[in-house]
Each structure stands twice: as structure tokens, then as C-alpha cells.
């Protein structure tokens, strides 16, 4: 079914399956074109176009969600995995746009460019998830990364934003070098960059001791490990997250991480089957380190944004637990967890984006003092997100952890699971600190921090809140989706 025709048949392409890619590219271009039109409120217009684009992309994928296609000579596959991640990225994009809508205006950032880059980043993510070839994986990753480098530095006159962009960029390029070298070695070891072909080659002539293969796979892993912020390739994360505009932090903490894992899972499952077992010690070690370093370092942070950055490192560790578990269960657990994580994290950062008036950014723990009772909805939502991030029921984060740890347990990784659950206890400490600040600390004499409410942000807040709670109470649909999605992979 997936054997590519010898002669590329352009007309044989299922355009619907490519719908998301086309929609996103077209949307990005359209945004740039629209900028030529005169008129005020271009930021609103751009945001609206972005929303439409993302909805269209999602809709086109949904329309053919049952289809299974390999397009462009098998470089782009449309399968359950692609559908799952495309929808997830579109949703992340949508929520991010809603979060950014007012934030971009408030900070007077150039709207059209912002949303163009956002769409391009989403496009890169989609390509990463859908790629069945190391070339496209690499290009998708670079597309996403380049867009994000710029987005991180979007507040260009602000020192922190610029510094974050520089660090993210330099280290990202550094990591790209490793990834690229890894791809080169894999290519050398197997003679192809197509994942299926690699897998086929490996199954025909196993190269267990091949240095090329091992080092290549390792460097590829390192490259993805950088994107998902796995220890010790995580050190850019807190700085980049803290310095970036909050809406960008929200977007990249959910999207880039999910995309990194999508690519990692795709490559591991499609090209290197069995790697989850062979490389379990490494994955286990990295997962343990990632969880622990992320959580422990977060303990003493006073900047919520930075704290959540460390928390996102820890969450990468939890997903790595699922990756280490491997198999259908492990992979679907990873998907489940990423979906759950994305929304609660978006919600949490979305709330941070609300804080402060005008161009000020109030994201210190102390800024939250007394906020909970002043802003009941905001307080409640933040509490739910924190609880969910901490993995406490009845929230999506809890179900995610149950699923992830269950998968790991099934794979016999008991020590990893024990470390994982203990880590979630550690993490609860700093998540609780947020609620302590909001509900149990007297608000400052000057009054609590001001909240820049806007309809789109509120909508984003309610949506993420609802999803976080709903997946905690009834996650059947997501469970099934996650399980179905990985089936085609293996």
C-alpha cells in the first residue's frame, strides 16, 4: 500500500489529506498579503484570519480522518498519528491565537508577522508529525524552530526577549547540527532517509553493532531531546520560556514539545522498531533525570513563568516515561499525555498572559497574591491547571499520569514509575505555591495585580479549563483516539 510509485504522480495526491498543510501555507501567505491592505485593526484581522485558517486546516483533516495515505513518494503520510497531531497542533494554535489576540495588541507587537510565524510554526509541527522521511522531519523542525526563534524575540526592544531568542537560537542551531549529523549517519548506515525503508533495511539485515546506526540514532535522539527539553539538553528552556512573550511561551511549551515528541515517536516507531526496548536504559535514565531536575529546580522559583518552564521540562520527563515504555500502550500514553498536558499548560500560561496592564508583565509569584478571591474565575482556572499539572484528580493531568505510569508498569519499568510518582509529589509543592499565593496570601496594599480581560482570552481560558476538567472526568474519547492513532504507526 505504501510502496511509492516509481514516477511521481502529482495527480495521485490526495489533496484532502494535504489539506492542513495547504491551508496553513495559504493562510500564512494570505496574512502577508492582507498586510498590504490599508486600515486599522490589522492585528484583529490577522488573528481572525489565523483562526479561520486553523479551523479550516483542522476541518480538512477531520474530513478525511479515516483515510490512510502516503503522499509524495511516502514522504508525507496521512494516518491516525498524523490526524491526531494535526488536530492537536491546530487546537494548540487556536488556543494560542486566542491567548495572543489581546496580548499582541496590548504589547503592540506586529500582528500580521506574529500570526504568520505562528501559522508557519504550526505548519512545521504538522510536517514533523506527518513526515515519513528524515528530510521532511528535519525541514519541518527547522521551519518550526526558525519561526519560534523569531517569535521568542518578538519583543525585540526588550532585553530579556532578545536574550531568550539568542540563547534559543544558538542552542537550537547547535542541536540542529547534532540532529543533522545523526541523520547523515543514519543515512549512511541504512542507505535511505525514508523511515519505512530504514525499518525494512534494518529488519532485513540487523546492524546491531553498527556504530553508524547507533551514533546516528543517538544524535537524532539528542536533536529531538533538545526540542522536547529533555535533560541534559534542556537548559535553554527556562531562559527562553521566561524571556519570550507569554503568549509565545504558551504556544511553544505546548506545540514545540508535542511536535518534538511526535517526530521522536514517528522516527522511533517507524524507522527504528525495537529501539524502545534496546534503548530503554538510556530512555529510562533520561526520563528520570528530566523529571527530577525539572521538578526539583522548579521548587525555589519565584517567577511563575520560569517555574512553569521547569515544570514543562518535568512533563517532558513524564512523556519520556511513556516513550521508554514503548509499544502501543506507551505510545498512546504519550499521545494522551501530550494532549492533556498541552491544554493545561496553555491554560496556565494563558492566565499569565492576562496579568498586568498595558505592556507590563506581572508573572512573579508575589504578583499573584490575593488574586484568587479577587478574580474567582481566574483563580479557579489557575487552580485547576495547577492541580492538573500536579497530576491530581479529577483532571486531565491525573488521567494522563495514570495512563503513562500504567503503560510503563506494563512494560515492567517499576523503578521508573516509582520515581515518576514521587516526582509528581515533589511537583505538587510548587504547583501548590501558586494556589498559596492566590488564595492564602494577603493581597498587597496597592491592590492585586490588574487583569487584562478580553473576550478571546476568556474563551481560551474557559476552553482549556473545560477540556482539562472533562478529560479528567471522562477521558474515554481521548483514550480511544490515542490508542487508534498509534496503531497505524507500528
Amino acid at each position: 500500500m505504501m510502496t511509492p510509485p516509481a514516477v511521481p504522480a502529482l495527480l495521485a495526491v490526495d489533496w484532502w489529506a494535504l489539506g492542513a498543510v495547504i491551508a496553513l501555507s495559504a493562510g500564512a501567505l494570505l496574512l502577508l498579503l492582507l498586510e498590504l491592505l490599508p486600515g486599522r485593526g490589522s492585528a484583529n484581522r490577522a488573528a481572525a484570519v489565523t483562526v479561520i485558517t486553523l479551523v479550516a486546516a483542522a476541518a480538512s483533516v477531520l474530513r478525511v480522518r479515516e483515510a490512510r495515505r502516503a503522499i509524495f513518494g511516502g514522504m508525507f503520510v496521512h494516518d491516525g498519528f498524523t490526524v491526531f497531531f494535526t488536530l492537536l497542533f491546530c487546537a494548540i494554535g487556536l488556543v494560542s491565537v486566542l491567548i495572543s489576540w489581546d496580548y499582541v495588541k496590548r504589547l503592540r507587537l506586529p500582528g500580521a508577522e506574529y500570526y504568520t510565524l505562528l501559522l508557519c510554526a504550526v505548519l512545521g509541527m504538522v510536517v514533523m508529525a506527518a513526515s515519513n522521511d528524515l528530510i521532511t522531519v528535519f525541514l519541518g523542525l527547522e521551519l518550526m524552530s526558525l519561526a519560534l526563534y523569531v517569535m521568542v524575540g518578538f519583543r525585540r526592544s526588550q532585553l530579556e526577549s532578545n536574550e531568550a531568542a539568542l540563547k534559543y537560537f544558538l542552542l537550537g542551531a547547535f542541536a540542529s547540527g547534532f540532529l543533522l549529523y545523526g541523520i547523515a549517519l543514519l543515512y549512511g548506515a541504512t542507505g535511505s532517509t525514508n523511515l519505512r525503508t530504514i525499518a525494512q533495511f534494518l529488519s532485513d539485515s540487523p546492524l546491531a553493532g553498527s556504530a553508524l546506526l547507533i551514533v546516528g540514532a543517538l544524535l537524532v535522539l539528542v536533536g529531538f531531546g533538545f526540542k522536547v527539553a529533555a535533560v541534559p539538553f534542556h537548559m535553554w528552556t527556562p531562559d527562553a520560556y521566561e524571556g519570550a512573550p507569554t503568549s509565545v511561551t504558551a504556544f511553544m511549551s505546548a506545540g514545540a514539545k508535542a511536535a518534538g515528541f511526535a517526530a521522536l515517536l514517528r522516527v522511533a516507531a517507524s524507522a527504528l522498531p525495537g529501539i524502545d526496548v534496546d534503548w530503554r536504559p538510556i530512555l529510562t535514565g533520561v526520563a528520570i533525570l528530566t523529571m527530577t531536575v525539572g521538578n526539583v529546580t522548579a521548587l525555589l522559583q519565584t517567577n511563575v513563568k520560569r517555574m512553569l518552564a521547569y515544570s514543562s521540562i518535568a512533563h517532558a520527563g513524564y512523556v519520556l516515561v511513556a516513550v521508554a515504555a514503548g509499544g502501543t500502550e506507551g505510545n498512546s500514553a504519550a499521545l494522551f499525555y501530550l494532549a492533556a498536558y498541552s491544554f493545561m499548560n496553555l491554560g496556565a500560561f494563558g492566565i499569565l498572559a492576562l496579568l498586568g496592564r498595558g505592556q507590563e508583565e506581572r508573572v512573579l509569584l508575589a504578583d499573584l497574591a490575593g488574586l484568587g478571591f479577587r478574580q474567582p474565575l481566574l483563580g479557579l482556572a489557575m487552580t485547576v491547571f495547577m492541580i492538573s499539572l500536579g497530576g491530581i484528580p479529577p483532571t486531565a493531568g491525573f488521567m494522563g499520569k495514570v495512563y503513562v505510569f500504567g503503560a510503563a508498569l506494563q512494560a515492567g519499568l517499576l523503578p521508573l514509575v516509582v520515581v515518576g510518582v514521587l516526582n509528581s509529589v515533589i511537583s505538587v509543592f510548587y504547583y501548590l505555591r501558586v494556589t498559596v499565593a492566590m488564595y492564602m496570601t494577603e493581597e498587597p496594599a496597592a491592590g492585586p495585580v490588574e487583569v487584562s480581560w478580553a473576550a478571546p482570552s476568556t474563551l481560551a481560558l474557559l476552553a482549556t479549563l473545560a477540556i482539562t476538567l472533562w478529560w479528567g472526568i471522562q477521558a474515554q474519547a481521548l483514550l480511544v483516539a490515542a490508542q487508534e492513532s498509534v496503531r497505524g504507526l507500528l
Binding site: 521532511t136 526558525l146 549512511g188 533495511f201
Partner: protein, 173 residues
């Protein structure tokens, strides 16, 4: 013959690469980088990748390095001042890490390393030049990545404009 040439160019590549990272003056570093790229282009030619070799000279040594030099000049950078314990420490660790990395690679590869199979694709019916072959591949099998690349360039353009353009419209922070 080609082997001799290879060795010569390889030596030039490594030597200039070394000078890139060693030389105090960023302009000199950049110039040595150009030299490294040129030697690399020569190696590409030796390896039968004419197209890539040309592109290497045009794009890398030409466009990219000009950009680098332009920026260095623009910023009017002088010699890097590198001193102090911290820097010495970092250097030491850097070289150590590099050495260990290389040693590990050597040890791993010394155990044996399999190279992938020869290409399975049928040799082209008519003997065509390397440039033509690459071009054909680019616009047929590699159409999709090619398109993605265009988006990457678009992002780069937009990005450079965003980051690089001057302050305007009372844009804040």
C-alpha cells in the same frame, strides 16, 4: 591523484576550520571559514557532487559568508578579549569535551560500522550530469520538501524583517 587532492583539501579544510575557532579576530575567523567552505567545495567536486560543490561556493562561501562579514563589519567588532579563570576553565572543558567526543567516536567506529546498501534505484537510462540529476530529483521525488523549504525561506524573510527593522509606530517594549 584524486586522493592526493583530497588529502590536500582535507588538510586545508581542517586547518582553516581550526583557525576559525582559534583566531581572535572574528573577521579573520570568517575569512578562514570561507577558505574552509571553498576546500569543502573542492572535496565535493572530488566526490562527484558537482552541483553541490558549486552551490557550496555560491551560497555558502558567497552569500552566507558575505552576510557574516557584513555583520562583523557593521558591528565593528575588534579582537575578542579572552582572559580570566572562567574563560580558561571553559576552554579547557570545551577542548576536553571535544577530545572525549572524538575519542568515543573513534572507539565506537573501531568496533566496526556497517554502511548502508548501494542504491537500489535503477541508473538513469541516459547518462546525465549531476546537476541535471539533482534537479530532476528535486522537482519530482523531493517536491514536498522543496515546498517546505520555500516556507522556511519565507519565515526567514519575515523573521529578519521583524527582528531587524527599526522601531516604528510607537511599538513598545
Amino acid at each position: 591523484m584524486s586522493l592526493t587532492l583530497f588529502v590536500a583539501f582535507a588538510a586545508m579544510l581542517v586547518g582553516s576550520g581550526l583557525l576559525v575557532i582559534l583566531h581572535k579576530n572574528p573577521v579573520t575567523s570568517a575569512l578562514f571559514l570561507v577558505l574552509a567552505f571553498c576546500s569543502l567545495a573542492a572535496i565535493y567536486l572530488l566526490l562527484g557532487a558537482e552541483f553541490i560543490g558549486m552551490v557550496q561556493i555560491i551560497v555558502y562561501a558567497g552569500a552566507i559568508m558575505v552576510l557574516f562579514l557584513f555583520v562583523i563589519m557593521y558591528l565593528n567588532l575588534q579582537h575578542d578579549v579572552e582572559r580570566g579563570v572562567q574563560i580558561a576553565l571553559r576552554r579547557g572543558l570545551g577542548w576536553l569535551a571535544g577530545a572525549v567526543l572524538a575519542a568515543e567516536a573513534v572507539l565506537l567506529f573501531a568496533r566496526g560500522w556497517g554502511v548502508g546498501p548501494a542504491s537500489t534505484e535503477p541508473p538513469p537510462a541516459v547518462a546525465i550530469g549531476n546537476t541535471q540529476a539533482v534537479g530532476l530529483a528535486l522537482y519530482t521525488r523531493y517536491l514536498f520538501p522543496f515546498e517546505i523549504t520555500s516556507m522556511i525561506l519565507l519565515v526567514a524573510m519575515v523573521g529578519v524583517i521583524v527582528v531587524g527593522k527599526g522601531r516604528q509606530r510607537g511599538e513598545g517594549a
